[in-house]
């Protein structure tokens, strides 16, 4: 087969600098100019921009700011929290953005502070990345006077530590475990104050909307999913790493922007470890925008696009990811801390050819029963990944279940599943 001629589409670089070097305050001001004093007027502009959160849930940013502003009062001021915990093992986009353009994120934090009338702001970063923590502390020190000083707090390296209620619990001195909602952080978060919690990429976008406006923001992307997004492309691609894409691009174009598929692709994992496996043929022409992905049962999630080559085994990859997710349960809700290890054990047995078709049926039943029964969405993410694996790798899974594990099972892992440190504080 001759390779089709591809026109490589690249997105306008909005968040990422042309050269990957950290920008200090002088370079930042030279690139973007002064931060305009917009106050609460930025909320209207954000609503017009259609910016959706880039942390996984995709909630409209303007609506979130409006909700926090309406809950905050003079005597009970809001708190702004910038979430950069990024414990998704395949994702490095938030750390990359913070390392290269810390002041764009800090600008976004100040805009949020001024728009919702906050008196406190926290930047919450994984403590695993010590050099980033010290670089951020230096960036905070060179901010102009008159701003709320951003508190830098280090988060434990647990998969669910970046979940919004887990963030609030940790900042309130408790373990970084999720809790039952309501109340949601916008109602009662840090120290009981209304809390505006955003992923750092979202805040960087708000800083650009403040300077350039909603119409500019909407000039790329689709009507439903305007703007650009940072994605981490990994697996069998020529140039794995963080890429900025516009949301009218397809998954195939995104992979091309990351150097193209390095080998014949079998499947693509979209979103992250709480994401969705898609057949490569289905994924390639699929748009990254919310509507297109939703029609395929997927979402951009944490912005992970992982390409699995045909030489690898989707069953073995999923087995490792589910084992990781089971280990990363906060251990609070029965369906998660009992259910996920059971799923993991049974899937592992099937992958090795030690459990039969009846076990595959049990996995299908558990996937349906576990969904929606945790305080947070950790168990949901795990079983949705499992469901998509049962659909995409179903035939292969049956061959495994009939006692014929494929040769590819011994392929080196494509997706990382690190053993994370055990602490929750």
């Amino acid at each position: 087969m001759t390779a089709p001629v591809r026109i490589r589409r690249t997105a306008p670089a909005r968040l990422l600098p042309a050269t990957p070097a950290p920008e200090g305050i002088t370079a930042h001001l030279a690139t973007f100019g002064e931060r305009p004093p917009l106050g609460a007027a930025l909320i209207d502009e954000l609503e017009r921009s259609g910016l959706a959160g880039r942390g996984g849930a995709g909630f409209p940013a303007g609506r979130k700011w409006r909700a926090v502003a309406s809950h905050a009062q003079r005597a009970w001021a809001a708190v702004v929290v910038a979430d950069a915990v990024e414990t998704e093992p395949a994702s490095i986009k938030d750390q990359t953005l913070l390392a290269l353009r810390p002041h764009l994120v800090l600008d976004g934090i100040q805009h949020a502070v001024e728009a919702v009338g906050a008196t406190r702001a926290v930047l919450y970063v994984s403590r695993a990345n010590a050099s980033l923590v010290s670089a951020l502390s230096a960036a905070i020190a060179e901010r102009p006077p008159g701003e709320v000083t951003v508190e830098l707090r280090a988060a434990p390296m647990r998969y669910v530590a970046g979940e919004e209620t887990a963030v609030v619990n940790r900042l309130n001195g408790r373990a970084a475990r999720p809790s039952v909602v309501p109340p949601r952080p916008y109602e009662a978060g840090v120290d009981g104050h209304p809390t505006l919690l955003h992923n750092v990429e979202t805040l960087a976008h708000t800083a650009l909307v403040a300077r350039r406006g909603a119409a500019w923001f909407r000039s790329v992307g689709t009507a439903d999913s305007p703007g650009t997004a940072l994605v981490t492309v990994c697996g069998a691609v020529g140039a794995p790493g963080v890429h900025e894409v516009s949301l009218d691009m397809t998954i195939g174009e995104t992979v091309d922007a990351a150097g193209g598929a390095g080998a014949e692709p079998l499947a693509v994992l979209v979103g992250g470890y709480f994401g969705t496996w898609l057949h490569a043929a289905e994924a390639w022409p699929l748009g990254l925008n919310r509507l297109a992905l939703a029609r395929a049962g997927a979402g951009l999630g944490a912005g992970v696009i992982a390409v699995l080559p045909r030489s690898a085994c989707g069953v073995a990859e999923t087995d490792r990811i589910i084992t990781f997710l089971a280990r990363e349960s906060a251990g609070q809700c029965g369906p998660c801390h009992m259910g996920l290890p059971a799923v993991s054990e049974l899937l592992h047995a099937v992958a090795l050819g030690r459990a039969g078709l009846r076990s595959v049926a049990t996995l299908r039943r558990w996937a349906g029963e576990i969904y929606g029964r945790g305080a947070c969405r950790h168990p949901d993410g795990a079983v949705l990944l499992l469901r998509s694996a049962l659909a995409v790798f179903g035939d292969d899974l049956e061959r495994h279940a009939r006692g014929h594990p494929c040769g590819a099972s011994r392929h080196a892992p494509i997706l990382p599943t690190p053993a994370l440190p055990a602490g929750w504080r």
Binding site: G334, A342, L384
Partner: protein, 78 residues
């Protein structure tokens, strides 16, 4: 009164299973003993059983709430 459905606080629940015994019309147990609650509204004639299950839960983990106010993550996207 608006139709109501049962909810369990998944962190409080420790799989005693009393609820499923008292209200099998809406509650069954999963393979690990935790309740799976039928999301449809509890009709008036079954309400006495729902209230008994709530009262007898040793972890005080059950409650009734109007349908549609269960928090966004309870929906099934499938």
């Amino acid at each position: 009164m608006r139709p109501q459905r049962l909810h369990v606080d998944p962190i409080a629940c420790k799989a005693h299973g009393v609820c499923a015994e008292l209200f099998p019309e809406r509650i069954r147990l999963d393979d690990w003993g935790y309740p799976i609650i039928d999301p449809i509204a509890v009709p008036r004639d079954l309400m006495v059983h729902a209230r008994r299950a709530i009262a007898e839960c040793p972890r005080v983990a059950l409650r009734l709430a109007p349908v549609g106010e269960e928090g966004e993550h309870q929906r099934d996207p499938a």
